[in-house]
Each structure stands twice: as structure tokens, then as C-alpha cells.
């Protein structure tokens, strides 16, 4: 655990190791050969034309291409360099790949990983480059992970590639700059397992990605006041560790969800819905959601910050449920 890696380098290490280990794995995406993207740097030089394929600006077609390649025996990693690039490919994602195995009556499954870089807002990326679109995938039943630390990034990336179903890996921009210990071996994380980032007794805060780190910081800040926050990081959004969530909320009796996807029908709504059914009798206070507003993300900093899920609002919500 001594070696430290940057978040995006951890993703790259996973890509290298998966491709080294299994010759049926290959990766497609835009401008891969240009070798300018840190998550894929060096891949083309190492694996060449047959396994690192530059795609045209045809997101719908190359998503379907991955589906067909998977049916024909490939194990495919598809990169979307910005989260909103999933939208032109939406039919091929939610209406084709997500549905095909079932519609086939299980004749084949689809080992495809969607690596979705640049999820989330930050620094004026504005209306079309700031989405955190995982709720769309969760609603469509596409397995999805949201790694928080560099170690998570590597082990969940490997898990996604190993899975025989489509799995989306959402890489949040907010943690690109972080560093942390990452094992050199290709350790594969189990899907569907959350982590308690920080144990606590009074209130469960559900948060992933950069928001998990902010929640941990808040927990440190508030412990002096005798407010003990448990930070529960789902890591795997689908499958979700529902039993783990239930255990945490039953223990603390309070729940605040801190999530930077749109509010309505978002991830926080799902967590609230689960807890309102499963943990009702343990709950001592209303469930609170602290989310991104249902807004287009504005460019200018003061209004961008205003519409995002901020730790100040999390603090207020925690205090409110403790009151």
C-alpha cells in the first residue's frame, strides 16, 4: 500500500493490466491514438491498431459497434471523453445494449465497459460538459460504479471489465487531482459493495466521489460539536449495497443524501425511497436530500456554485436532522 497513484493514472493502470491479461479485451474511443488523454496514454503504443481503435465522432454507431463485437466474442471498453457524449448514443445504450441479452432470452451477454470520463461539474465547464448522468443509467438498469479514491478507480475499473454485463464507470472530475495508495496487483473490487468511509453514530451521510471526501471533512469538523456522522459511500450505484445502507441508517436513525446529480428522480431520490420503506421504524428525523438543483449548469462561478451540491448545505441539513 506504499505506492501512491493519481486517480486518472490508476484508471490507466487498470486498462493496461486488463489488456495485458486478456487478449480479447480491446478499447475504442475518440482520439486514442493522439495519445493526449492521461487515462489512455501509452495504450496505443503498447497494444497497437487491433486493440486500440480510434473512432469517428459517431457515438451512436461506435456504441453499437461495441455491442456487436461483444456478441462476436470481444470484451470491449468504450470511452466517452465527456459525460454528455452518452446522449447521442442513448438509444444504443439504454434501448439496445441494456436490453439485448434479455430480449435474446440469454443467448449471449455483453461484456462491455463504458468508461465515462469527466462526470460532474467544476470550473466553468458549463451547460453541456458538466452533467453527472448516472441516474439515467440506473433507471435503465445498466450496472454503474462511481469510484472515489484512486484505489477504487483501479479496482472498480477492473471489476467493470471483468463483468459479463455492460458496466458504466463514471469518473468524476472532482477527484482527478487526488492521489492515494493503489496496490500494484490487479485487485478486482466486488460490485455491490459500499464502504463506510468514516463510521459515525448519529447520522448517515450517503455520498460518493468528491462529495464523499467533502462529507468526511465535514464529519471531522462537526465531531467537536458532538455530531457523529457516518459517511456511507456506495461506490457501486447498481448493484447497490442495499443491506449496507439499511444497516447504517438503522444504526444512526438519520439520513442525509449528498449527491451531485440532478435532484428529481436522481440517485438521492432512490436512496430516500429505499430508506423510507426499509428503515422507517428506525428513522428519528426526516430524510434530507442535498443535491444539485434541477438546473443547466451555468458557466459563471458564483451561479455555478449556487446550483451545485455544496458542503455548506450538507452541513445545514445535518444540523437540521440533529436538531
Amino acid at each position: 500500500m506504499s505506492r501512491e497513484l493519481n486517480y486518472v493514472d490508476a484508471i490507466r493502470e487498470a486498462l493496461f493490466q486488463a489488456m495485458e491479461a486478456d487478449p480479447s479485451v480491446f478499447m475504442i474511443g475518440e482520439n486514442m491514438r493522439g495519445d493526449i488523454r492521461p487515462e489512455s496514454r501509452g495504450l496505443y503504443t503498447r497494444f497497437g491498431d487491433d486493440r486500440v481503435i480510434d473512432m469517428p465522432i459517431s457515438e451512436a454507431a461506435f456504441t453499437g459497434f461495441a455491442t456487436g463485437a461483444a456478441l462476436a466474442g470481444g470484451r470491449v471498453i468504450v470511452e466517452f471523453q465527456v459525460s454528455s457524449l452518452i446522449y447521442p448514443a442513448f438509444d444504443q445504450l439504454v434501448n439496445q445494449a441494456a436490453k439485448l441479452p434479455y430480449m435474446l432470452g440469454g443467448q449471449r451477454f455483453l461484456p462491455v465497459t463504458y468508461l465515462i470520463m469527466g462526470a460532474g461539474a467544476g470550473g466553468g465547464r458549463a451547460g453541456q460538459h458538466s452533467d453527472n448522468p448516472y441516474p439515467y443509467f440506473l433507471h435503465a438498469g445498466i450496472k454503474s460504479v462511481f469510484p472515489t479514491t484512486p484505489a477504487d478507480a483501479k479496482s472498480l475499473m477492473l471489476a467493470a471489465i471483468a463483468e459479463d454485463d455492460p458496466v458504466a464507470v463514471f469518473a468524476p472530475v472532482g477527484v482527478y487531482g487526488t492521489k492515494g495508495p493503489v496496490p500494484e496487483e490487479p485487485v478486482v473490487a466486488p460490485l455491490g459493495q459500499a464502504v463506510v468511509r468514516r463510521p459515525g453514530a448519529d447520522v448517515t451521510v450517503v455520498a460518493g466521489g468528491p462529495h464523499a471526501l467533502q462529507a468526511v471533512a465535514l464529519a471531522e469538523k462537526l465531531k467537536g460539536e458532538g455530531i457523529s456522522i457516518e459517511v456511507w459511500d456506495p461506490l457501486s450505484l447498481l448493484p447497490l449495497d442495499k443491506a449496507g445502507l439499511e444497516a447504517s441508517v438503522n444504526k444512526t436513525g438519520r439520513l442525509v443524501i449528498f449527491d451531485d446529480s440532478n435532484r428529481t428522480c436522481g440517485f438521492a431520490a432512490e436512496i430516500a425511497g429505499l430508506a423510507a420503506e426499509r428503515c422507517f421504524h428506525a428513522l428519528k428525523a426526516p430524510i434530507k436530500r442535498v443535491t444539485r438543483a434541477d438546473m443547466v449548469i451555468p458557466y459563471s462561478t458564483p451561479i455555478e456554485t449556487e446550483v451545485l451540491a455544496t458542503v455548506d448545505r450538507l452541513e445545514a441539513a445535518v444540523r437540521a436532522v440533529m436538531a
Binding site: I53, P56, S58, G64, L71, V76, Y102, G106, Q107
Partner: protein, 340 residues
């Protein structure tokens, strides 16, 4: 499943193709009857009149080649070797159907036979064919992938993007456009100016137009394009002119009038590909009306057998509804409609 009725292997291959076209025709007429009669629960899109395209193209393909199909897919699937009994079982929603009753008419597939599936979305199968072709190419297998689609699909972005993928990667793909002149009720000339062939050519595809009511012509053109693609000569595009006899889709409730001109419809039927091949074979002295009647009778009995098989098969059990959603399930996944 009834023992599959393999046509005698010493049959003249052209008679096999007649047989296959007749099988498709009668299969689809049966599907229409079963739908109008309420035994097939949902709408079916049939391609009666269009049989020569499926049969001619698939005659140029081997068992390891791959096709993707459309909403109007029965013909493609039968032509690529699909078993009518299992197809009928699927249409009747039985566990013995190709998709175990989970797919229905618009999703029938047999991956082992290289049938990557009918599709409910126009144009959507084409990029999958490209992906399969890419695997063939990188594994140095000499297989070819053939996406079928209609004239209306020529306006769908994902198909146009797929043309580019195929030429860009020099994939062994032959795109087959079944131009029946209409998308539902819309004449292709009203929604596509210029020409289908020029459009495809503009993507760098090697294009050819062929009379889609002439199975010999279709097969010959398909053999050329498939051979070229197989040899690494690049992707091709066939435009096959055809006519659909039935209304766009048939369902139990609807008695949708065919708004196409009566004269046009008659003209379309006059080009019937099945009659044409039979007439040719008999005129050429290779076949007789008696032999034809014999083949037709075989087809009837194969379909009757298939229908019997389908009818005697079980519907899937509700408790099995959630099987096959994922290769690997997890606790709570797929989520049920009530909390558990």
C-alpha cells in the same frame, strides 16, 4: 422441437431457394392469420413479396457469417437457417421459442446461427454488424456481416454513421437495403432526394442496385459483394428494389386500410419472386409442376408441425420472468417492483 426438416441435400440448390422463399411466404401468411385470429398477441411486420432478398443474400453466406435484421425480420431469419418451429413458438410466447418468449417477433435471434437479431428500432442493428465484422477481421476469420434494413432507414443517423465505420475500418460488411418504396405510409421519394445508391456511394461503399424480386439476380450481386468483402476488398452496399404485399404491420385489433394505390399494388404482386423462380425452373426444364406441388406440400407440413410444436409448448413461468436480465445477478438486482 420437431425434428428439423432438412431439405434433401441432393436437391437442386435453386429448388432449395424456391423452397425457402415458399417457406417464408407461408410462414408469414400463417403469422398474419394467427395475429388476426388473436393467437399472436401483438403486431407482426411481415415481408411477403420481399422473400427473394433474404433468400438471395443468405445464399451467398456461410454458417459463420452474421446478419442483423429489422422489425420485418422473419424472412431473414428463416433464410439464415432459422427453425420455423422455434420462431412460431417465440411468436406464441412460449419457453421453447428462440428467445424463450422474452423477445417476440421484433427480437428473434439465434446467435449460434449468426442471426444477431431482429430489432425494433430502425437502423439500430447496423453498427452491431460492423462490430462483429471487426472481430472477424482482427481474428483473421474470413466471415462477413450483413445488416438488412429498409429504404426508410437510409435517413437514420446511426445507419449513416455505420456506413462510415465500415469504410473507415475496411470491414467485411455488406449493407443490404430492402427498398420497398415506403416507410409505413411515406413514399421514399418524399423523404429522400437524390438516390439511395448515391448516398451510400458517398460514404465510399461499393454499391450495386438489383431487382429484389429476382432471387437469381440478388444472389449473384450478393455473391459479388460478399466475395469482395470476404477478401478484404471493402464493404459493399446492395439496393434491392422490392414490394411489400401486406400493410406495414398487422395486429389483431386494427383493420388498417392499405392506402397504397390499387394499381401499384397489383403491379407489385405481378413481380412475385416465388412465381418467377418457379416459372423459370419449369421453363428451363429443371422442374415440374408436380415436383413443385410436392415441395409446397412439404412446406405446409413443416409449418403445421412447427405450429403444433409451438402450441404444445409451455409459456414461461412468472417466477422465471427475471432470468437473463444479467449474466450475473446481485442481491436486489434486478430490482423487483416491490421491495423485498
Amino acid at each position: 422441437m420437431p425434428t428439423p426438416v432438412d431439405p434433401p441435400s441432393d436437391l437442386d440448390p435453386e429448388i432449395s431457394r424456391y423452397r425457402l422463399m415458399q417457406l417464408i411466404r407461408r410462414f408469414e401468411e400463417m403469422a398474419v392469420d394467427l395475429t388476426r385470429g388473436g393467437e399472436i398477441q401483438s403486431a407482426v411486420h411481415v415481408g411477403t413479396g420481399q422473400e427473394a432478398i433474404a433468400v438471395g443474400v443468405c445464399a451467398a453466406l456461410g454458417p459463420d457469417d452474421v446478419i442483423t435484421s429489422t422489425h420485418r425480420g422473419h424472412g431473414h431469419i428463416l433464410a439464415k437457417g432459422g427453425d420455423p418451429a422455434r420462431m412460431l413458438a417465440e411468436l406464441l410466447g412460449r419457453e421453447t421459442g428462440y428467445n424463450k418468449g422474452r423477445g417476440g417477433s421484433m427480437h428473434i435471434a439465434d446467435i449460434d446461427l449468426g442471426i444477431y437479431g431482429a430489432n425494433g428500432m430502425v437502423g439500430a442493428g447496423a453498427p452491431m454488424a460492423c462490430g462483429a465484422a471487426f472481430m472477424f477481421k482482427t481474428r483473421a476469420e474470413r466471415h462477413v456481416a450483413v445488416p438488412f434494413f429498409g429504404d426508410g432507414a437510409m435517413n437514420q443517423g446511426v445507419l449513416l454513421e455505420s456506413f462510415n465505420l465500415a469504410t473507415m475500418l475496411n470491414l467485411p460488411v455488406v449493407f443490404v437495403c430492402e427498398n420497398n418504396g415506403y416507410a409505413v405510409t411515406t413514399p421514399i421519394a418524399e423523404v429522400l432526394k437524390g438516390s439511395i445508391l448515391e448516398r451510400a456511394r458517398g460514404f465510399g461503399l461499393a454499391v450495386e442496385a438489383v431487382d429484389g424480386m429476382d432471387v437469381r439476380a440478388v444472389q449473384a450481386a450478393a455473391e459479388r459483394a460478399v466475395a469482395r468483402a470476404r477478401d478484404g476488398g471493402g464493404p459493399g452496399f446492395l439496393e434491392c428494389a422490392t414490394y411489400r404485399y401486406e400493410v406495414h404491420n398487422v395486429s389483431a385489433g386494427s383493420n388498417w386500410a392499405d392506402e397504397r394505390d390499387a394499381a401499384e399494388r397489383q403491379e407489385g404482386r405481378a413481380r412475385d419472386p416465388i412465381e418467377r423462380l418457379a416459372t423459370q425452373l419449369i421453363a428451363e426444364g429443371r422442374w415440374s409442376a408436380v415436383d413443385r406441388a410436392q415441395v409446397d406440400a412439404e412446406v405446409e407440413s413443416e409449418l403445421e408441425g412447427g405450429l403444433g410444436f409451438a402450441r404444445n409448448s409451455r409459456r414461461p413461468d412468472p417466477s422465471a420472468a427475471y432470468d437473463f436480465m444479467y449474466a450475473r445477478d446481485y442481491a436486489g438486482l434486478p430490482a423487483r417492483g416491490v421491495d423485498e
